[in-house]
Symmetry: C2
Subunit: 330 residues, 2 copies
């Protein structure tokens, strides 16, 4: 191959695959491009073959758009990498070497690419929150994680958590129980129809957490004028801060950031969150996330290509592989 | 047919069908007998044909055991009667008349038979709580109901609610988040294995509420020595009392009772519940449930046979039907 060296970043999640090319410093230079189809999960976890089928056309488009070049390193962030990533770790380094000539490959939990996108390679804590919620932190020696246990065991403060609490308050108002919110009941009936029919709208669905999370913006919209809705968002902010506090290093240079769709709920969440973070993590500087998980993947790939990756290796959170590309194996 | 008139009570739920014969006064005289198979639910709701297939052998066994007799009335309490009972209301009165000669048939929500079993035909409120939770109350003019919305929208204070809160506290301890309970983490790991594997134990299951509820006795067992577990049971008691308060009539003669498997959690729940009911319903006398939902079905059938049923009729909660039996249609 000809052309300058570049790096490939990939972000794989429930809503599909995104990829971009970056300079060896990890700055974006082509893309992002996306496949709307998510990678399949099978009995062996995330399906490495299907991953390659979705990625290769995107990667070739990116190389064509950037005028060609050598891919020095690839970093993949994937939802489920920690628990369902065994197949990816076994097969992707070889496949990315054979098909794209990549010499080095990093495989990361999506929370790790979210971290790298938000804070780069500085110590601190990042809470990645949308439908679900997970916190990861590092002192650059090891990773810590908190929550991310799903809508029944945790994901406290997430979109699904906020939406569920809002719908419970709606049903309480319908029943005349304490803790009910007529405002949230009215919102719920506008979205889902009569309150008594809500169980029939929710329980048959396979994507219940997403259905619950779809109500979170309604709770935020009621928060200014409704004490129950405002209380739900204050409780959610507390949970977000508690997750950050569980993983943030004591290091005085620590930074803390929130990333993901939950930010869109705005001040009803972010106002109380600033106060809670200041109380629970007085030593950590609150910063906005610099970028998203795909930016984080490019950043990790850039560090890998330059052999100066500071983020700590971890079998499940961030594994680094060397692969023989076709130019050397031929 | 020869022999004295009697009544048939039926209780249909997720764990199968139970039936008993009673005197015209509603006192048990044969049974209970049970079918371990639950009645199927299909696109038209609870399957009336399958219900009859399961009930008829039980009814014939009961008649044989009691030396025969005429069935003057049948009362059926069924889980889902309010929302999935259309087929039963359309077909059961005729089928019970044809097959068993029953002249009168009552079809009740299982919460109504739970009420009649617990309080008979006196005004008040009954909270029926096991894996789920529903409260029904009546002033003998109309029914009120509260909660019963399932494990995501409500069932606040139920076994699933308590177990879920206990497992969240276990995962908080695993993460080092605030609000965690090391005692509940240890219990959860004894029951389900390592904490990090708990999502994999729970989410693939179709009976998630039952899995959650299976942990409620562990929370109760920790309550005396663990502040987090004790707090969960105090919060559950509050939710139970709030549901009762939403449906209890203002009538000074009102009684209030808790019925169902939740009682087995004992004093860690029942102690705080006594205090909360005294605070929220100072006018209502707290009584133990006199009997279970099958006793309630017999009680309703007895009232129907004697034409002195005091409990209010309601299209979904308690409907009463007259059917032509084979002796008069021949």
């Amino acid at each position: 191959m000809t052309g300058a060296a570049c790096v490939l970043g990939v972000d794989s999640g429930g809503s599909g695959l995104r990829a971009a090319l970056g300079s060896p410093e990890g700055a974006p230079c082509a893309g992002p491009v996306r496949s709307a189809e998510p990678v399949r999960t099978g009995p062996r976890g995330i399906d490495a073959g299907h991953f390659m089928d979705l990625l290769l056309p995107l990667a070739r488009d990116l190389l064509a758009a950037s005028g060609g070049g050598r891919i020095a390193a690839v970093a993949v962030g994937a939802a489920g990498m920690a628990t369902l990533g065994e197949g990816l770790r076994a097969e992707l380094p070889g496949a990315l070497g054979r098909e794209l000539g990549a010499e080095r490959v990093a495989l990361a939990a999506d929370a790790v690419t979210a971290y790298a996108g938000a804070l780069g390679e500085r110590p601190g804590a990042v809470v990645a929150a949308g439908t679900g919620l997970i916190a990861v932190g590092t002192d650059l020696a090891a990773w810590r994680r908190a929550d991310g246990w799903g809508h029944l065991l945790g994901d406290c403060g997430s979109g699904a958590w906020i939406g569920r609490a809002g719908l419970e308050a709606a049903m309480r108002a319908h029943d005349g129980r304490r803790g009910g919110s007529p405002a949230l009941r009215d919102r719920a009936e506008k979205v889902f129809g009569p309150a008594a029919g809500l169980p029939g709208q929710l329980y048959p669905r396979a994507d219940r957490p997403a259905v619950l999370a779809s109500f979170a913006p309604e709770v935020a919209a009621c928060a200014a004028g409704d004490a129950v809705a405002g209380g739900i968002l204050r409780d959610a902010a507390r949970h977000v801060a508690e997750a950050a506090a569980a993983v943030c290093p004591r290091d005085a240079a620590s930074e803390v950031a929130l990333t993901g769709g939950l930010i869109k709920l705005g001040e009803p969440l972010l106002g109380p969150l600033r106060d809670d973070l200041a109380e629970l993590l007085p030593h950590a500087r609150q910063v906005p996330a610099a970028g998203d998980p795909l930016d984080g993947a490019l950043r990790i790939a850039g560090g890998l290509a330059a052999d100066r990756l500071l983020l700590p290796r971890d079998a499940r959170m961030l594994s680094v592989h060397r692969s023989e590309g076709p130019s050397t194996s031929a």
